[in-house]
Amino acid sequence: MAPKTRRRHASFLGVLGMARLQFRVTRRSLADYLLGAGLAALAGTVLYPLVRYLIPPEVKEVAAGSIVAAKVGELKPNSAKIFLLGGKPAILIHTPQGTYKAFSAVCTHLACIVQYRPDLGHIWSACHDGHFDLNGQVLSGPPPRPLPQYSVTVKAGDIVVTRPA
């Protein structure tokens, strides 16, 4: 008699009864679940700050896009000078023709710093023999792109190099 009653009782509960049957929680599984959840929370609270810590904070780039790279008369014709513009190396060239030109000094191939070759009269990257002309265009070698060119103005004896925004 008793089993029959119980079965009928279960059927009254319907879906709810099924649910209770499926998600039966024992003391042990609850303890395991709590322990697992606790350990996961602990791992999270340790790992989250750790990962955030390892990401380097952004260093503010110098806002100024222009700088006094040299004084008039500092560079002889057919020579050049490397300087920093916004934290990155740039090159100022006094061409044999007497004009000033400025470029990014970071080679577009693998970021070596380029140099001016007075003997060749153009820009050269020593790492993988990349050659650039005095417009920044690639003459030969592996560089995939020309060097970005910066504008040069002479103001009251100062040679000002400006990087376009």
């Binding site: 700050p49 955030r52 810590y53 390892l54 990401i55 380097p56 904070p57």
Partner: protein, 350 residues
């Protein structure tokens, strides 16, 4: 061949498994001291871990050290947390090393065959203090700068070898950037290497001999290491981690003022709290003790005390164990009282 069998063939890990199954920890009165060593180990691991993280941003030069610590505290995400945890855990570790030492001492765990376990432990205590002394200077702030001048000056008073020792430690006559470089190298390379070796020996010996059982009456009960003791110890570690996190969050370690070699020393220069008892003792010694200068006499006394600490297990020999044990206990209590008393005295006087 299963992976387990393949590994067993090469690693013989089942021996370790068998070993752990049979390892037990005595259940005795004052049994909590059995957790102290584990807590010290946990704090050491935290120091290794956070120390490696600090190395990602710290720069050991007079120009950049202070700024790099400020950068860590202010700019690096969670940098304040990592650095504060490192500073707090350092202090807690010193505290626990002392607690562990006194615990082992009063349970007389150093008795045969564990003499070398004690000796390696005493060496680890000295290494811990050296970690504290060298690490303190690294932020290159005013307090640390002058504490290092005073601390190394005191070492210069060691008879015979004092002066060469001072020059060796400072990397010159004065505390300069050369000192910072040396302390940095000692703190992050030499001491960790030594500590790893000695700690390895210490832990190996603890496994080899098992936990010491104090001589006391009553039935000998024991707790299996796995899982009973491991789970309890884990709870203690979690508690320590929680306390550490709370301290680091609520009381972040200050950076102080940048050291200025031309500025006069500010008032109230004190070493780290765990050196205060020695500092205070040297301070109150008269100008001359016997044929030595007061400071020198004090340093000789502390060196002798360190030596006695190192050889504690070998002092207690012979037939009269009970009497030796009583004497050891009285001396231990006196030493603890002296350290505590001098520390309090040091903080009460300017």
């Amino acid at each position: 061949m299963s992976l387990g069998a393949w590994l067993e063939d090469r690693l013989r890990w089942r021996a370790a498994d068998q070993f752990l199954r049979h390892k037990t920890v005595p259940v005795v009165r004052h049994g909590y001291v059995y957790y102290f060593g584990g807590v010290t180990l946990f704090l050491f691991l935290i120091q290794v871990f956070t120390g490696l993280l600090l190395l990602m941003y710290y720069r050991p030069t007079a120009d950049a050290a202070y700024e790099s610590v400020q950068f860590i505290m202010a700019r690096v995400q969670f940098g304040w947390l990592i650095r504060s945890v490192h500073s707090w855990a350092a202090n807690l570790m010193v505290l626990w090393v002392f607690a562990h030492m006194f615990g082992a001492f009063f349970l007389r765990a150093y008795r045969r065959p564990r003499e070398l376990t004690w000796v390696s432990g005493a060496l680890l205590l000295f290494l811990t203090l050296a970690f504290g002394f060298t690490g303190y200077l690294l932020p290159w702030n005013t307090l640390a700068y002058f504490a290092t001048i005073v601390g190394t000056e005191i070492m210069g008073d060691v008879p015979l070898v004092g002066k060469p020792l001072l020059v060796l430690l400072r990397g010159g006559e004065d505390v300069t950037e050369a000192t910072l470089s040396r302390f940095f190298g000692i703190h992050v390379a030499i001491l960790p290497a030594l500590a790893t070796l000695v700690l390895g020996l210490h832990l190996f010996l603890v496994q080899l001999h098992g936990m010491s059982r104090p001589q006391e009456r009553g039935p000998s009960r024991a707790l299996p290491f796995v899982p009973g003791f491991v789970l309890r110890e884990s709870m203690v570690w979690l508690l320590v981690l929680a306390v550490l996190a709370a301290l680091a969050v609520l009381l972040p370690w200050p950076v102080g003022q940048k050291a200025d070699p031309l500025a006069p020393a500010p008032a109230g220069i004190k070493p780290e709290w765990y050196f205060v008892f020695m500092f205070q003792t040297l301070k109150i010694l008269p100008a001359r003790v016997l044929w030595l200068e007061g400071e020198q006499a004090g340093i000789v006394a502390f060196m002798l005390a360190a030596l006695v600490l190192l050889v504690v297990p070998f002092l207690e020999r012979g037939e009269q164990h009970a009497r030796a044990a009583r004497i050891a206990r009285v001396l231990g209590v006196l030493a603890a009282l002296f350290i505590a008393g001098m520390t309090v005295y040091g903080y009460l006087t300017p």
